[in-house]
């Protein structure tokens, strides 16, 4: 992907964000937005590869929709399961920090994976080194890395794999 295209994308995203936040098509709003988006692109373009690596294909778009749907479902399940633990008089927690492995190579894909894990069923990403993620698990079902990877990572990974290079 060319640098010009990456800059154009960054500018478009920041500008769109500004316009959505303002929700008004006034000349001064558009001018300020273009100025600030331009400055961000100019000064920070080198370090902000915001969407780099995202595949612009139909398959990828379908995976994105699947990912968002799966994520929202998991988010609701996570909350109900944590609520159940908190309300149980016996407080049935079996905490453990387990090690899981990801096949994902792209940094943004790894970020999304770590964030998704943190937001879903009783799991919290504590540390990340290369392809290993250390995950704190409130009700640990297993301490084996392979089994934990299947339980925690696999669900998100199969969508993210399609979305990012």
């Amino acid at each position: 992907m060319s640098d010009t295209f990456a800059s154009a994308k960054l500018f478009a995203i920041t500008f769109l964000f500004w316009m959505l936040l303002n929700g008004a098509f006034a000349l001064d709003v558009i001018l300020v937005g273009a100025l600030v988006a331009g400055a961000i692109t100019f000064f920070l373009g080198g370090s902000l590869h915001f969407l780099s690596g995202y595949r612009l294909t139909g398959e990828s778009a379908r995976a994105t929709v699947g990912y968002v749907g799966y994520f929202l479902g998991e988010l609701v399940k996570a909350n109900i399961s944590v609520a159940r633990v908190v309300l149980d008089p016996a407080l049935p927690v079996v905490p453990a920090i387990v090690k899981v492995r990801t096949r994902l190579r792209n940094p943004v894909a790894r970020l999304l994976l770590a964030n998704s894990i943190t937001l879903t069923p009783g799991t919290l990403t504590v540390e990340m080194t290369d392809e290993w993620l250390y995950v704190h698990w409130v009700v640990a079902r297993t301490t084996d890395p392979e089994a934990a990877t299947d339980a925690i990572v696999a669900g998100f990974e199969k969508y993210l794999e399609v979305m990012y290079d």
Binding site: N79, A114, T125
Partner: protein, 111 residues
């Protein structure tokens, strides 16, 4: 209009229930890590439900509220993760019930 407002109030109420449960979780959980867990999960869904409720009551705010929800879903897990990592690096002990700590084991192996 009345229907939307009623629905919005209902959704907001469910959101506040989750937020209250998060508070209860903070009090009841045994150690730092499990407390962070309780704080992250329930507050994210709770806040999103409050935002959805607000969008139902004031439909013209929907876009802005959706952006706030998006920001929240990106920043909330990051801050929890950084807190947990800092706690672990500083040597904050986990509860005795913790079954295993793969991170501590690997760190000993490296040192």
């Amino acid at each position: 209009m009345i229907v939307l407002t009623t629905l919005g109030v209902a959704v907001m109420s469910i959101g506040t229930v989750f937020l209250a449960l998060a508070g209860l979780g903070l009090l009841r959980m045994p150690d730092t890590y499990t407390r962070i867990q309780a704080g992250t999960k329930a507050t994210t869904l709770g806040t999103i439900l409050v935002l959805v409720g607000a969008a139902l009551i004031m439909p013209e705010w929907t876009v802005k509220l959706a952006l706030i929800a998006l920001f929240l879903m990106f920043t909330n897990p990051l801050s929890s993760q950084v807190l947990a990592r800092a706690a672990h690096r500083a040597g904050v002990p986990a509860t005795r019930e913790t079954r295993t700590d793969a991170l501590a084991e690997d760190k000993e192996g490296l040192a």
